[in-house]
Chain length 176, copies 2
Amino acid sequence: RPVREVLFFPSPPSCTEALLAEAAGPGAPVQPCPCPLPRNDCSLSRLLRRLLSARRSLEICLFAFSCPQLGRAVRLLHRRGVRVRVVTDAQYMGLRGSQIGLLRHAGIQVRHDQGCGYMHHKFAIVDRRMLITGSLNWTTQAIQTNRENVLVVEDAEYVKPYLDEFERIWEEYNPT
Amino acid sequence: RPVREVLFFPSPPSCTEALLAEAAGPGAPVQPCPCPLPRNDCSLSRLLRRLLSARRSLEICLFAFSCPQLGRAVRLLHRRGVRVRVVTDAQYMGLRGSQIGLLRHAGIQVRHDQGCGYMHHKFAIVDRRMLITGSLNWTTQAIQTNRENVLVVEDAEYVKPYLDEFERIWEEYNPT
Ligand SMILES: [Zn+2]
Ligand SMILES: [Zn+2]
């Protein structure tokens, strides 16, 4: 049965350490995190789990990306051999706390818009099969304080047009 | 067959006069608009058509709402007897060009957040049956210059959680 999920935010602060540590080294013993945050399942942990399910490819098209946990998840997928490509908005890329520099430093391909208007999308595609899209920018402020929504859809009729849009933007933002 | 549509923006400037005039008075002769804009079908006209299909109810949950054509469509639905309810973000409501004042003036119920964090949703629900959601704020700037996406879904599994979210916010923002 294809995945169909709706996530709403704000998501209360929670510890995602175990989730990320396990994804980094499956099977390895996970040190318990000393932080006092609850380990509850929440919209952020669900979003992380969907992303961490990637095995082959991950396309990300995001206006703003500064959430450290989501940045860590993306770098982890890259290290695991997933082909990660990121498109973002030039205006927000340089802001304090942006994850884009860390992604590039890790060797992940990132392209950004050059023109006027915002690259205002907020979607990701996992393994060319699962679409994650909504109002949410991947920032801690949005995750913890805003009213936001994210749809998770595993239906080719929706995934295909977003993949095509990603490829169009990827080519358009080709710097060479 | 349920509606499933994906709209991408920017949408080129186009004349939506005929579309709106016809919706205002079905059957009445429509004066041709003298403006030089093309009458092509585009993402904005498709979005307008989905909204104008409302017969009973329209819930709108929007961070920013300043596009005059979309504002006109919503007032027109209200006049036609559709039950319209609008939730918006307080920070953006007072901005120049906001449609919120015009909606209220027309007698449409509008509520806004009172707290910290943004009401960052961008969705609408037509006749409790069709969900319209994505990255797009209803502003001319976003429609004509940004890269944006809007999903149109007529699937109860997706519509229901958004309706519930709307009702939660509607109650939370009750000023009384
Ligand atoms: Zn912790
Ligand atoms: Zn015209």
